[in-house]
């Protein structure tokens, strides 16, 4: 009996192209769009910015500075006749200006007043990029000055360039994949897509209640728990297919579209599967409860979608939690989508194993249990009032 009812649910889903698109195409499209859109947030493209140089200093320190800048930022474009217009129109990323007395000033023990090397940027340049360029220039000038002062007073010449950069290192504490837009967006929109089964499940409940098939199944003695299970189990499969599809998009499709590749090498697969199972249980439990609460298609669409969007907005799906203010970061911990996302990020970014994902899995499991029980009780209550 259960198998026949599950087959019915699967046929109904397969013959609903709009439902399939909402479950599979929508989250995949979000992954592609958001990963490409946010690519530079995770990997600032300072080296791809078009820039020009304005310099009237032929001294060695100035020439060394410009040569080192070219080595890391590529060749500059010709300085436009109206540099400010080129910057404000966005055709130029920035202009690096070096004053005529730069070379003479840089080795002075007491620095003369005034700015000697200046960056003027596109007004729309992201703040992080702006600060990054500024810091890079400061480091390069600092290194030149240190070398020049050392040579002047000790006669010793530092061999090679960018010695400071070789002294300094910075990396995120992970032996596995580095955080990229793809690495963040695949789990985020996978979680969103998995919770989106709420609309499909709730619509099906409403349809069965309205057209009398629910009454017919009850009359034939189909137990209520079997009816609920028959609706829930196919969506465990749907969630599994969503996960496989979204991971495939991250691994195969994103590199083809010019994005980063989702790195799965070395991750703890049992931990990933456990997070997937817990997320699926929570998503379907939530969907069942909403399905038992609503009475019309309009309610199903409105309540399911708005709850999902709210959980996604609060839970760091749409806006990463790390950019939120502390109060919103605290609020995020109340969203089941945040628990799921945290579990996935533990595995994909922090090399988390079963122990690492346990807190997220436990919260999702408890949420799923409460949702399933509440849904079953509500379903019994409503069908006995028929």
């Amino acid at each position: 009996m259960l198998a026949a009812l599950i087959r019915k649910e699967l046929l109904a889903l397969l013959r609903d192209p709009h439902g399939l698109a909402a479950l599979f195409v929508m989250p995949a499209a979000f992954i592609v769009i958001m990963s490409l859109a946010l690519q530079d947030t995770y990997r600032p493209a300072t080296r791809q910015l078009a820039y020009a140089v304005a310099s009237a200093d032929s001294g060695e320190p100035a020439q060394t500075l410009l040569a080192r800048w070219r080595a890391t930022h590529g060749e500059p474009v010709a300085l436009p006749a109206d540099p400010r217009e080129a910057l404000t129109s966005g055709r130029l990323g920035y202009v690096l200006s070096v004053t005529p007395d730069f070379s003479a000033s840089v080795s002075q023990l007491t620095l003369p007043p005034g700015v000697k090397a200046r960056l003027e940027t596109d007004p729309g340049l992201a703040h992080a990029l702006f600060r990054s360029l500024e810091a890079e220039l400061a480091a390069a000038v600092g290194e030149l000055r240190a070398d020049a002062v050392q040579e002047r007073f000790t006669g010793l010449v530092t061999p090679g360039a960018n010695a400071i950069a070789r002294l300094v290192g910075a990396e995120r504490a992970s032996a596995g994949a580095r955080p990229t837009a793809v690495q963040q967006n695949v789990p985020a929109w996978l979680v969103f897509g998995m919770f989106f089964v709420v609309t499909a499940i709730a619509s099906l409940f409403v349809q069965e209640t309205r057209d009398g098939t629910l009454a017919r199944l009850l009359t034939l003695g189909v137990p209520r728990r079997v009816q609920v299970l028959a609706k829930a189990l196919p969506y465990l499969g749907v969630n599994a297919i969503q996960a496989a599809l979204m991971l495939t998009v991250g691994v195969w499709l994103m590199p083809l579209l010019g994005g980063d590749r989702l790195q799965l090498a070395g991750i703890h697969w049992p931990a990933l599967l456990l997070v997937l199972a817990a997320t699926s249980g929570a998503a379907i439990g939530f969907a069942l409860l909403v399905a038992c609460l609503v009475r019309t298609h309009a309610q199903a669409a409105a309540l399911g979608a708005s709850c999902n969007l709210l959980m996604a907005a609060i839970g760091g799906i749409m806006v990463p939690v790390f950019v939120m203010p502390p109060a919103m970061q605290a609020a995020a911990t109340w969203s089941p989508m945040n628990w799921a996302l945290d579990g996935f990020l533990q595995v994909l970014l922090r090399d988390g194993d079963l122990t690492a994902v346990l807190p997220a899995v436990a919260r999702l499991g408890a949420f799923a249990l409460v949702m399933w029980l509440a849904a079953l009780l509500l379903f019994r209550h409503r069908t006995r009032q028929a």
Binding site: M1, K8, D211, G212, R216, T219, L220, G221, R384
Partner: protein, 307 residues
């Protein structure tokens, strides 16, 4: 044998009971026509019989056993064909039958045999692969019936089974219901089309305000009323009312007709002779017993039911 004894039900917050001491019987092989205006309690009664509402007051017995116990052992002894198209529109006719056959706990060769038998009975074989959403109204009604027949029920509840179908499909469905009863199945048939009840019912129950107003074999119900003479007479005859009052009770019928319920000692010939003697020549005359619609309207009164 289905026996309902003093069944009562009041919905939470309702001022009046939906069922108020209903008692009925339905034997296998008979068709019980259930008539009642909107809000009379028909749906509530069917919900009880279908196991969708628990019996809180009164009793429902199936072969002497409480319905709940009988349903717990074999839920599909009574099946329901609701007024709605209670199947899955995106599935084909066969897929629908297969799904509901499994829900009826049919398995293996018996399941296939019952699907084939239901298809054949409702003449849906040609449409077995057609998706239900693409069927005409009449075919959808037949599928609704076919699903109810799958578990070979002893009693079948048909709630408005001919709504929205053409005359051919209606005739087919009525024949099918008679055939079901002929094969030994008990049928509870509700409809607002009173002529359908007259055509197929063995017994009739008239329900209003949750109470059974009449429950008897159809023939007995119709014979219980007075002999009735319906006359169509051109207007302008003084003294007509007084003349007719000598033979019975006259009242206005449909479309200007005069309906005269004859006293026991009156005959139509005597009335017509008296009219002829007064120079009154009716241009249409009908004589017989009251019909079911007249009885129904008389019992439930003519006021509109908006609830």
């Amino acid at each position: 044998m289905l026996r309902i004894e003093e069944l009562a039900h009041r919905y939470a917050g309702a001022a009046q009971p939906a069922l108020d001491g209903v008692s009925l019987t339905l034997a296998r092989g008979r068709v019980l026509g259930l008539l009642g205006p909107n809000g009379a309690g028909k749906t509530t009664l069917i919900a009880h019989l279908a196991g969708l509402l628990p019996v809180r007051s009164g009793r429902i017995l199936l072969d002497g056993e409480p319905l709940a116990a009988a349903r717990a052992r074999a839920p599909a002894r009574i099946t329901l064909a609701p007024q709605e198209y209670a199947f899955y529109p995106m599935l084909s006719v066969r897929e629908n039958l297969s799904c509901f056959a499994a829900a009826s706990r049919l398995a293996g060769p018996r399941r296939e045999a019952r699907i084939a038998a239901s298809l054949a009975f409702t003449q849906l074989e040609r449409f077995a692969a057609t998706r239900a959403e693409h069927l005409s109204g009449g075919l959808k009604r037949r599928l609704n019936l076919a699903i109810a027949l799958l578990p070979e029920p002893e009693l079948i509840l048909l709630d408005e089974p001919t709504v929205g179908v053409d005359p051919q499909s209606r005739a087919f469905l009525l024949d099918a219901v008679r055939a079901l009863a002929g094969a030994g199945c008990g049928v509870l048939y509700t409809s607002h089309y009173i002529e359908e009840i007259e055509a197929i019912a063995d017994d009739v129950a008239i329900l209003d305000h949750g109470r059974i107003l009449r429950h008897a074999p159809l023939a007995a119900l119709l014979a219980a009323g007075p002999a009735r003479l319906a006359l169509r007479i051109a207007p302008g005859h003084d003294g007509l009312d007084a003349l007719l009052a000598r033979w019975g009770t006259a009242q206005a019928g449909r479309d200007g007709e005069i309906v005269l319920d004859l006293r026991a000692d009156a005959t139509p010939a005597a009335v017509l002779q008296a009219l002829a003697a007064s120079g009154i020549a009716p241009h249409e005359i009908r004589y017989g017993q009251q019909d079911l619609e007249q009885l129904f309207m008389q019992l439930t009164h003519r006021s509109l039911r908006d609830d």
